[in-house]
Symmetry: D3
Subunit: 239 residues, 6 copies
């Protein structure tokens, strides 16, 4: 199985980190390649960033279609370009939000998302409504760190723990979802710290959820419905 | 009052038609200018088209902000780029969907949208959910003409009438909304044909609704909330 | 354009204040007249008051129909008699709630209403459900002043500010709607005080929203659907 | 137990029929009196009629409060004046809609209402939303007879059967609710005709449901919450 | 009228207490018998307990069907076995949740449930969704006593009062529903204590609500719809 | 990884067929064992059957907990015993409904379920509400064959195709979910027949979806939340 990971930002600095993390979640026999954008933004933290990165993402989707990959992971929790991508490739395409949230729905009543900045919160509420899962969102909280400021592992885990523990204690969350695909390699540690504090709740890593979702979809022989995601009509395009 | 109309497609052919139609709806003392895109697509009929046109739209929004306009109408029923635009300009920004639909809500129980192609239907359902008005959509139907094939006035009115009359007769619609801003200059005629056939229902023109909405917003002194539409953080962008 | 403002209370004391406020919002070429009720209550602060004022309001609607006005504003935030009125006049009719709330929906995620007394809060929740917009109500709060006790401008603005600032700070509101049409001439001041305190959120005045809504509706050539608002069958009536 | 039945129309012609029907449903030890309105309309088939009858109904409620009755049934399926009434009397008050519909919810998945005229259908949808039960309405249909044209028992039963049988066959209804309190004495016959045709579904009579609801409420010692239905503030009223 | 009360637990210790309480709510001419289970659990406080008690409950339902009773009350607030029971008996069957909650809906806006243990809270949310009434649940709280620890009347009333008063004060509840049918004989006292503290809200006893519901259903001639509750196909069963 | 498949019926006849089908979906390194019930019913086609099979299922869950399996699949589309099971084992437990439906949500707008008999349809609507996904159900249809009558492969595929093609053509479904885990080995064939008829929609096999879900959950290190699924309190149980 061949999975293409589109890192929807410009710059190569995160590519290796993402690759190693994706490989850690993927099945041993899954081939993974990771590619960043030629055009876009340094990170995605607003509707504006999402809009600016969309054409660069779709360029990578067209390449993926040409390369005949089996699935595509656009590694951002805001699912940028995901629905447009499904119109132009015959393979499953996911971002981080949808697979992480659908996974979370099977684990408990209220889902608590912990994301990066307040800017992102309204976008996630909009996404939840688009996916008709807004009734299950118990809380959306932030660590108040930008995407490019998540590299300090201890600070990140500490802030995630504070927010998650408070959300569970107030009964706003039964399941925690990490609300940024840049929060790499912290899910298990957060789950264990919560358990040690008496909060036995699952923590869903969106990168892991996305890779597992794609592998499952390929195995199940399903790809996006062509009555929902119709191929775009031919026309002049100059993006 | 100065309203900037962003025609979110490439090519100048539609500019004059849009300008005259907008002027017909606008108050006499409203200044209107219409500008198409440098980069984008010839029409918008898919998520893919929307994504490709977004950076070109946002470039026009930035210019509008610099020019200090009082309001912006992105003249497409899919509201492309609208939410991103609100993050970067301190003035009301609307597409065609939101003002037409909110207007329709005050006119009757079930809203029937008649749009161009089947491709667009799932996008409109997604928009309706995003705006939390999906429960009021009675039906979404199509004239089965592409955006660039709407110029035959008689064919267009005939197909609109067929769909609208059928929707009202089946009690799927109490209000008709024209589901493409390219359906110019047909609302009153459609309303009158429906009335002549015994269907006394209002028909909402999205261009008219958008212009009225912007003028009202300016008069009311309101613009998008900065707790929902936060300014994007500074970062490297190369779109 | 000729707009009839029905002040749905008995007594003439408020008429001039309402007239000047409405004129301040209306277009220069809009003719406005304001008329109070012969029968009704001194103010509307309960379902009981609404019910008692309904026949007096409908008498004014029948006169407005005879006079051939272009639109009617029943100036109360509870929308008393609005739906009955739509059955008997071929022109747009609004109260304060519907146009203010639909306007607010386009401005931000959660709407905070600040009204007069706790008595009114359940009525507004019922209205929100009737209009299928209850999911967007973030909070309904009160200044705890009766309708006839709103004349002290400073007290009113102070209490509005306290409630609005608290609602925004707690993320319960991204948009503020003044929940009584008797809160005249305070919207801009409240908005500016909130902005000065760091809360950049719009404030919607229901009188302004209603006048703009009616003018827009007339311009758009729309009036309430006759499949939703059917003319009442003939019969003996003795109200 | 003393139940006051308010027949919310002018004219005495229906009083005896209603009285005998109510007595047939009531417990033997329940005292029942039936009183029509001094002011109002000959029947209620529109929002307009409801509004005009409200003050006359509330006059009867005030008398009922003075008389110390144990419960009040406003015998109309549109629940006219019910919520206003609850503000001014310390006893349970119901119309026909709420008790019939809540009873129906316990009997099957989708509720089919069969009412008199198309005019009434949007009002019932509004009521359903007010009561947050709209998701359970499978269909609202009409016999296309006015309230004052229901006296031909055979025609009424025939039309009810046609609509109900069709609704059940199309899986739009698992429970039938008679949508007018003027459809007296037909529920059991309709149920039996449906069963004979192979449709084993319950039929809820709104008069019976209302009387049973009031007797149950009195027995349970419950009356409307004063935090939802607050007493109206004192003021000048001239209805 | 003959009502069978199924006490869905093993052991006879509660039978007499339940019988006397049911008789206190029932009409004088209603015959009541109470029977516990042969197989099941000592109390029901989890999905696990509900599942284990289901076959024992259904055995009692089959006996009730053979005995030709007019209605069955499965006396547990979790409605265990209720929907399965409706498939196999031609008479109304209720637990405590559905009749208490539907009764509460007619009394005020937000319903506050006070139940026994935190374990039960997610089950009640699931039930509320199944019955499509989740939007009316304002809060679900606990006295933190197990079902078999409710016998200390004073402790129980004190804890109920604390939770109910706090819920009403915070506007989370306009109506209180006792969330366990083992909370016998406390509803009126709780209501009076709340009223003495200024909280004039109704308190619904699920046992009383269930008995009144069954008696009303029998009087109305309704029983569960056979298009929702179809008879199970014949097959080999060995439970 | 060790997955225990609980076949929630009595009798061994299906065990081998289920085992081979599960093995076909499972990863090569997943150990699978399949075990039927000692007590229960020959098939599950009603709430009654579900209730009777629950204790037998939970006995198998307790054994699975003792055996330390990594995940449990209760192979029935009605998810019988799933929520009770999650209270008593520290490993993921799924039936067929939840993983198939959550998978389907990511593939298209409206989900069409095709199940066995009409008896099952109301149960599936209830499940959809419990899981808060009812808004995405476009249609639930039946092949009108009992669970134990699915062995004729051609008849089954033919009836599935008829229902699925009709549902897609009427725009009631964008994704097809097989609504019985006894519909083994037909998903790919149905998908291909639909595609050949011009309907390019995915078909989700619940057995495959469940196995993939369990393997993904184990890989992600998540199991059901202990704040939603609390361990049952100790007590006397005699099931």
């Amino acid at each position: 199985m061949h999975i293409r990971v589109v890192l929807p930002v410009i710059g190569e600095t995160l590519v290796e980190h993402v690759r190693s993390e994706v490989l850690a979640w993927a099945s041993p026999d899954t081939k993974v390649d990771v590619i960043a954008l030629e055009r876009g933004t340094a990170s995605i933290e607003s509707e504006y960033d999402e809009a600016l990165s969309a054409p660069g993402i779709l360029q990578r989707i067209e390449e993926a279609a040409t390369d005949g990959v089996d699935g595509v992971f656009i590694t951002c929790f805001g699912d940028p370009g995901v629905h447009a991508a499904r119109e132009i490739i015959d393979a499953p395409v996911v971002g981080g939000f949808e697979p992480a949230m659908l996974t979370a729905l099977s684990l408990g009543e209220n889902v608590g998302i912990i994301t990066v900045l307040p800017n992102v919160v309204p976008m996630l509420h909009s996404l939840a409504r688009r996916y008709t899962i807004e009734r299950r969102i118990g809380t959306i909280r932030v660590v108040d760190l930008p995407v490019l400021g998540l590299e300090d592992h201890e600070v990140l885990v500490e802030r995630l723990f504070e927010q998650a523990a408070d959300a569970v204690a107030k009964r706003e969350a039964d399941v925690i979802v990490l609300g940024c695909t840049g929060m790499l390699g912290v899910a298990a540690e957060l789950r264990d710290r919560l358990a040690a504090a008496g909060h036995r709740v699952p923590v869903v890593d969106p990168t892991g959820a996305a890779i597992a979702w794609l592998e499952s979809s390929v195995r199940l022989g399903v790809s996006p419905s062509r009555t929902t995601y119709m191929p775009p009509p031919a026309k002049d395009r100059r993006a």
